[in-house]
C-alpha cells in the first residue's frame, strides 16, 4: 500500500469520529462535568471569594432544606410554572387550530403570533413590569377607571405569579402554536374526513380526533416547558429593580435563590450547588412523572398506529 492510500484509509476511518468530536468534547467540558461536579461542590464548604474550604458532608443540603425561603422558592416556582404552562398550551392549541384554517395571508398571521419570541425575556419583563406596576401601571389604571380595586401585583403572592406567568405566556404561546400547527398539518386528512362523514361536528372532531392525534406533540411541549419553566430566572429577576423576588420573596424562584446564595448575599457556592442539585432532582422527578402520566393516557389511545404516522 502506498503512503497516500494509507493516508486516505486513515482519513475515511477517523473522519466520522473527528467530525462529531467537537460536540462531545464541549458537552463533556461545559455540560456533563459541571453538572456532576456540582454534586462535589455541594458537599464542600465553598466560598465564592476564597474557594474550596474542605469537605463538610451533607451540611449544605441540611442548611438549604431547613430554610423556609427554599420551600417558598419551590412553591413559587411551581405556581408560576403551572400558571404559565397550562393556559399557554391550551391557548397555543386553539390558536394553532385557527392558523390551520384556510386563511388568507397565512404567512402574515404565522409571523404575527411569533413576534414576541424575538423580544428578550429581560425586555419583556421591563415592559410588563410597567403594565403591572402597582401605582400608575396600565392594568391598575384601567381597573380603577372602571371602578374596580387596583391589584397589588408586587405585594400579593398569587398576583405576582400571575404577572410573571403572563410574561412567559406572552413570549412562548405563539411559538408553541406554530409547533402544534405543524403537528396538525401532519394529521392525515382522511381521519378528519372520516369523522365528518360519521356526522361529527367541527368541535367534536377537534376534541375527539385532532387532540388525540396531537398527543406526541403535547408530550414534547410539556416536557420542554417543564425543563425550561422550573429553571425560570429572567422574568422574576427583573420584576422589580431590586431583583430579590420581593420584600417577602413573594416571587423568588429556585434559580433566583441559587443566585442569591451563591453570588449575592452569602457568596456561598457550596450552598448554591446544593440548591442546584435539589432543583435537578426535582426536574428529573417531574419529567419522569409527566412522561409516565402522558404515556398512560397515550396507551389508552384507540389508534396507536395512526399516531405513529402523525408523528
Amino acid at each position: 500500500m502506498t503512503w497516500s492510500q494509507r493516508l486516505s484509509r486513515w482519513d475515511v476511518r477517523s473522519a466520522p469520529y473527528l467530525y462529531i468530536a467537537p460536540f462531545f468534547l464541549l458537552f463533556a467540558l461545559v455540560g456533563l462535568f459541571p453538572l456532576l461536579y456540582t454534586g462535589w461542590v455541594a458537599l464542600n464548604k465553598w466560598s465564592l471569594v476564597t474557594g474550596d474550604q474542605g469537605f463538610i458532608g451533607l451540611a449544605n443540603f441540611q442548611y438549604v432544606l431547613q430554610q423556609p425561603r427554599f420551600w417558598d422558592a419551590v412553591t413559587n416556582t411551581f405556581s408560576i410554572f403551572l400558571l404559565s404552562s397550562v393556559p399557554q398550551i391550551i391557548a397555543a392549541i386553539f390558536i394553532a387550530a385557527m392558523l390551520d384554517a384556510n386563511l388568507r395571508a397565512k404567512t402574515f398571521w404565522r409571523m404575527g403570533v411569533l413576534v414576541p419570541y424575538v423580544v428578550a425575556p429581560v425586555a419583556v419583563s421591563l415592559i410588563f413590569g410597567q403594565l403591572f406596576a402597582d401605582e400608575s401601571g396600565v392594568v391598575n389604571t384601567i381597573l380603577t377607571s372602571i371602578g374596580l380595586d387596583p391589584i397589588g401585583w408586587h405585594s400579593d403572592r398569587l398576583w405576582a405569579h400571575v404577572a410573571i406567568a403572563t410574561m412567559v405566556n406572552f413570549r412562548w404561546t405563539g411559538y408553541n402554536a406554530l409547533i402544534f400547527l405543524a403537528a396538525m398539518q401532519a394529521i392525515p386528512r382522511d381521519i378528519i374526513e372520516a369523522a365528518v362523514v360519521d356526522g361529527a361536528d367541527r368541535w367534536r372532531t377537534f376534541i375527539n380526533v385532532t387532540i388525540p392525534q396531537l398527543r406526541p406533540t403535547i408530550i414534547f411541549v410539556v416536557i420542554t416547558s417543564t425543563i425550561g419553566g422550573l429553571q425560570i430566572f429572567d422574568e422574576p429577576r427583573m420584576f422589580d429593580n431590586f431583583g430579590l423576588g420581593g420584600a417577602d420573596r413573594e416571587w423568588m424562584t429556585v434559580t433566583m435563590y441559587l443566585y442569591e446564595l451563591g453570588w449575592n448575599t452569602q457568596r456561598n457556592l457550596g450552598r448554591a450547588a446544593a440548591v442546584a442539585w435539589l432543583l435537578f432532582v426535582i426536574i428529573v422527578v417531574i419529567t419522569l412523572l409527566n412522561y409516565a402520566i402522558t404515556r398512560r393516557i397515550a396507551s389508552s389511545d384507540a389508534h396507536p398506529k395512526r399516531k405513529a404516522v402523525a408523528r
Binding site: Y19, M98, W109, Y117, V118, L178, A182
Partner: protein, 300 residues
C-alpha cells in the same frame, strides 16, 4: 454543483407547497370573520406591548407619572431618550457591540460544528453511530444550566470571567444543532454526490466543504437564525459571568433598571435599543423562523 443542489431543494419545496395548496383547496372553505377577529386580537396582544414601549420611550418620565398611557401617538422625546441611554454610563454602545459579536460568532460556530457532526451522523458509517446519536438527542433533555457553579469556577480558573469568550465558548456547538443538521442532511444530501466527490479524489474534509456544506445551506441558515436569537436574548449566564464591567444588551438592561428605575422613559428607550435589531431581523427573515419551528416540530 452548489447551485444545482439549491435548485433541487427549491423544486422540492415548491412541490411540497403545491401538495399543501391542493389539500387546502379541496373542499376546505375559507374561515369566517370570527377566526380573523380572534387571530387579529392575538396578533394585537403580541404587538401592542411593543408599541406601548415605543410610546413610553418617546415620552418623559414626568408625563408617564401623570398618566401611564401618556398619549396614543409617539411624542417628540425619542431621540433625546436614546441619547440619554447611550450616555448613561452603563456602556450601551459596548453592550451593543458585545451582543453582536457574541451572537454572530456563536451562530457561525454552531452552524459549522453542527453541520460537520450532522454530515458524519447522516452520511458516514462508523461503529457506535446510532448509540452516539441517541446520546446527543438525550443531552437535549439535560438541564445543563444547573452546572453553572462549576462552570463559573472553571471560568474563574481560566481567568475568563468578565470576558466574552466565557459566553461564546460554552455555546459553540449545541445538541439541537447537531440533531437538526443530521435530520436535514440525511434527506437533502444524496450519497451519489459524496461518492462522486470521493471518486474525484476529494478528501473527507474537502467533501464536507464542497458537497455537504453547500447542500446544508437552507437548514444552516435557519439554525443560524435560531442561534442568533437565542444568543441575543440570553441573560442568566452572561449576567453571572460577565457582570457589569463588560455587559451584553440584556445585562445592560438590568443595570439600567437597577440605576434608573424611576426614569421610565429612559428604561424603555433602552428596551427599544435592545429589541429593535431583532425586530428588523424578524421583518427580514421571520418567515424562515416560522418555517424552522414548523419543520423542527414535525421532525422532533
Amino acid at each position: 454543483m452548489a447551485d444545482q443542489l439549491a435548485g433541487k431543494g427549491a423544486a422540492r419545496a415548491a412541490r411540497r407547497k403545491n401538495e399543501k395548496g391542493n389539500r387546502m383547496e379541496n373542499g376546505v372553505r375559507r374561515p369566517g370573520w370570527g377566526t380573523y377577529l380572534i387571530l387579529g386580537s392575538v396578533v394585537l396582544i403580541s404587538v401592542v406591548p411593543l408599541y406601548y414601549t415605543f410610546l413610553l420611550s418617546s415620552s418623559t418620565a414626568g408625563d408617564i407619572a401623570r398618566n401611564p398611557i401618556p398619549s396614543l401617538v409617539p411624542q417628540s422625546h425619542f431621540i433625546e431618550n436614546i441619547g440619554r441611554v447611550l450616555s448613561a454610563g452603563i456602556g450601551f454602545w459596548p453592550a451593543l457591540l458585545n451582543s453582536i459579536l457574541v451572537a454572530v460568532i456563536t451562530a457561525v460556530s454552531v452552524v459549522f460544528f453542527s453541520t460537520l457532526a450532522g454530515f458524519s451522523f447522516a452520511k458516514l458509517r462508523f461503529r457506535g453511530r446510532n448509540g452516539l446519536l441517541a446520546f446527543v438527542i438525550g443531552t437535549m433533555a439535560v438541564p445543563t444550566q444547573l452546572g453553572i457553579i462549576p462552570l463559573f469556577i472553571l471560568m474563574s480558573k481560566l481567568g475568563w470571567t468578565g470576558k466574552l469568550v466565557a459566553v461564546i465558548v460554552p455555546a459553540m456547538v449545541t445538541a439541537f444543532g447537531v440533531f437538526w443538521m443530521t435530520q436535514y442532511l440525511s434527506e437533502a444530501l444524496p450519497y451519489e454526490l459524496i461518492e462522486a466527490a470521493r471518486v474525484d479524489g476529494c478528501s473527507m474534509i474537502r467533501t464536507f466543504w464542497h458537497v455537504a456544506l453547500p447542500a446544508a445551506r437552507p437548514a444552516a441558515a435557519m439554525l443560524a437564525l435560531f442561534t442568533f436569537v437565542g444568543s441575543w436574548t440570553n441573560f442568566f449566564w452572561p449576567f453571572i459571568v460577565l457582570g457589569s464591567s463588560n455587559p451584553t444588551l440584556p445585562v445592560a438592561l438590568q443595570l439600567l433598571q437597577a440605576s434608573y428605575f424611576k426614569d421610565l422613559s429612559l428604561i424603555m428607550a433602552g428596551v427599544v435599543l435592545a429589541t429593535l435589531p431583532l425586530l428588523v431581523l424578524f421583518a427580514l427573515a421571520g418567515r424562515h423562523l416560522v418555517a424552522g419551528i414548523m419543520q423542527g416540530a414535525v421532525k422532533g
